[in-house]
């Protein structure tokens, strides 16, 4: 988890401290804003197909043990994602 302070508005989030972490590291039930998708064209396209894009609000619905899948909610819709993908969805939250 990276915590840093920034002095300008990023993606509509005003000045302050941002906690940056992959969606899979969030607590179950918590909501955050997607800062970026770390991956190539195909990964970004696949996520886009599911409505997972930068600036979107995303909620962690469930996380399965043994490196299992993660369930997130975007736009009121649930999507199941493999853990590897979820590690590359970086979200930000205001502390």
């Amino acid at each position: 988890m990276d915590i840093y302070t920034h002095n300008r508005t990023i993606l509509g989030i005003p000045k302050g401290t941002i906690m940056e972490q992959p969606i899979a590291s969030l607590e179950t039930g918590k909501t955050a804003v997607i800062l970026r998708l770390e991956g190539g064209y195909l990964f970004r396209k696949k996520m886009g197909d599911m409505g997972i894009r930068e600036r979107k609000t995303i909620r962690l619905v469930a996380i399965h043990p043994f490196h299992g899948p993660v369930v997130v909610e975007v736009d009121g819709r649930e999507v199941t994602l493999g853990r590897g993908m979820a590690e590359h969805i970086i979200t930000g939250d205001l502390e």
Partner: protein, 571 residues
């Protein structure tokens, strides 16, 4: 004839719209990827006839699996597109809409699930949306038929949007953002009971107990409905039928025709399982033993499919299935295969890579028995106690898991992770469930009856010409020496290629012990798929992969048969 193609994201109800437009029946369910192939139908509009094509769902015109490739191919053929979109999820659905419009084909937009959008507090300004997209937009509720008339009436208004030019992915999302801001209003809503159930059934701690309860209830329902149908409908029918067929037997007198139609009389009586005549066993197996369970299975499956539970089950099984070289979506082909392997293998098209499709197809063919065969296993092993039946399924389960673990290491290629949309729970519609069940039963009758008759005929011929003895002799070292079964069981394995249910029936007259029956019925699943499954695997996988799969099946059969013999028979 002009071609109209229905296009849209997965699970927005294209197949339901298709049924409404053409009157043709196609299978629709509440999970993404029900339609993996296209269906064609016809529709008359005024004087003109149109061909309507129901394409598989796709998120964009850049395909990422086989089903999406089919969709793109269909797009190429289209003279006019009916773009079906989910009104409850407009933003995401508009991505494909814009891509369609950029290609300058005439499009009309059906905003489906309009009622659900209203209930969830989403309101969309149709007039503004029509203005922004420059095409006609019609709100519809395909399940109830609402709005379908408007859609038909306005089809000839479909046109291409002149002002929408090809753009980059990010420009497309910006444009969609503008449109949404302009046309859509969402009122905040509170969490409902449905949301609560939805989350409980997908979280690991609550999800697994719920899944166990759901699956056991489903199994219990299938067996309860099946047995009830047998005891109260089908068995009484055959009791009425017996005097008729006995009369016919006496009238025919001994000879070839009696052999063929009635078969062997056992102690002067017809034994529906062992007589092997066209009018006795040939009718009893499909109608009194298999059909009741087919009815039971498919009605329960339809409720399952339409409720939206399957994608949640796919999430729960993902962790295990990932070790087997697939991902959780693989549970859907497995479920369909429990009815019949053919639709199961077709459903594998929704998996992304060749490796995943190969593994799931091979596992289905090796270790997932179809309902026709299961019904016979219940019928034959049932009297000895449920323990023997459990033994068969437990063995198949072990074969499924271990074959998956092995194939995942043997087969080269990628196994991408799961990325699956979870549809909202919906209350299954009684009419839809009944219609779907009836379609599948009819399909079973059309496919199964000819092959069963052929099988019974073939058995008679084989016995008449002494082929059974000869074949038994050749395979005796394997069947008798290695599997510990009587050598006559070879014929059952041969007939199993035509119909597995009939093959199970053929084991009965051989006087085997219950443990031998367990081995033989398990092997009947493992050794080779039936001809229908073989044909569809051949088509889907190609000759090279089919040879690979066949080699794997034969090896598995040897290992499983041998191990079972030593464990269960102890010799």
């Amino acid at each position: 004839m002009k071609k109209i193609v229905l296009m849209g994201n997965p699970n927005v109800g294209k197949s339901v719209v298709f049924s409404r437009l053409t009157g043709a029946n196609v299978i629709a369910s509440n999970y993404p990827g029900t339609t993996v192939d296209f269906s064609k139908g016809k529709m008359r509009l005024g004087k003109e006839g149109y061909e309507i094509i129901d394409a598989p769902g796709t998120y964009s015109l850049d395909p990422s699996n086989k089903a999406e490739e089919v969709a793109l191919e269909m797009f190429g053929l289209a003279d006019l597109i009916i773009n079906v979109a989910d009104a409850t999820n407009l933003e995401r659905n508009l991505y494909l809409t814009l891509q369609l419009l950029e290609r300058k084909k005439p499009v009309i937009l059906a905003l489906n699930m309009w009622d659900e959008a209203r209930h969830t507090g989403i309101s969309i300004d149709i007039k503004k949306l029509e203005y922004d997209l420059q095409i006609p937009v019609v709100p519809t509720v395909a399940l109830s038929g609402e709005g379908i008339h408007d859609l038909i009436r306005r089809i000839d208004e479909a046109r291409s949007a002149e002002k929408i030019e090809p753009m980059t992915e990010s420009d497309r999302w910006i444009k969609i953002g503008e449109i949404i801001k302009n046309v859509q209003q969402v009122t905040h809503r509170h969490h409902t009971l449905r949301d609560w159930i939805s989350e409980a059934s997908i979280r690991p701690l609550t999800g697994f107990p719920i899944a166990l309860v759901v699956i056991f209830t489903a199994l219990w329902l299938v067996s309860f409905i099946g047995q009830t149908l047998i005891s109260y409908i089908f068995d009484p029918l055959f009791t009425l039928y017996t005097p008729i067929v006995m009369g016919l037997s006496t009238w025919l007198g001994p000879g070839f025709l009696q052999e063929l139609l009635i078969g062997n009389l056992i102690n002067g009586q017809i034994d529906y399982l062992q007589s092997m005549g066209l009018l006795t066993t040939g009718l009893y197996v499909p109608f009194a033993m298999v059909l009741p369970y087919i009815i039971a299975f498919y009605s329960v499956l339809a409720v399952f499919e339409d409720s939206g539970y399957l994608p949640r089950l796919a999430t729960l099984t993902d962790t295990i299935f990932h070790r087997l070289g697939m991902h959780g979506f693989g549970i859907i082909p497995v479920f369909l295969s429990l009815g019949c392997n053919v639709p199961g293998i077709l459903a594998a098209r929704s998996l992304e890579t060749k490796k995943q499709r190969f593994i799931v197809s091979a596992l289905l063919a090796i270790s997932v028995p179809c309902m026709a065969k299961n019904a016979m296993v219940f019928g034959i092993l049932g009297p000895y106690g449920i323990g023997y039946i459990i033994l068969v399924f437990a063995t198949l389960f072990i074969v499924f898991i271990s074959s998956g673990l092995i194939l995942n290491r043997l087969i080269k290629g990628d196994s991408p992770e799961i990325c699956l949309e979870i549809p909202p729970y919906r209350k299954p519609d009684t009419m839809t469930v009944l219609k779907k069940t009836w379609m599948r039963i009819r399909w079973f009758l059309q496919e199964a009856i000819p092959f069963l008759f052929l099988g019974v005929l073939l058995i008679n011929l084989l016995y008449t010409f002494g082929f059974v003895e000869w074949l038994g002799g050749i395979f005796a070292p394997v069947v008798q020496g290695w599997f510990g079964l009587p050598k006559e069981a070879t014929t059952a394995l041969l007939i199993g290629f035509l119909r597995k249910d009939l093959a199970v029936g053929m084991l009965l007259p051989l006087g085997m012990s219950p443990m031998q029956l367990v081995i033989a019925t398990t092997l009947l699943t493992v050794y080779f798929p039936c001809v229908g499954t073989f044909a569809v695997m051949f088509r889907e996988l190609g000759i090279r992969d089919m040879i690979k799969a066949t080699a794997f099946m034969i090896c598995t059969a040897f290992v499983v048969g041998g191990v079972m013999r030593f464990v269960l028979l102890g010799v």
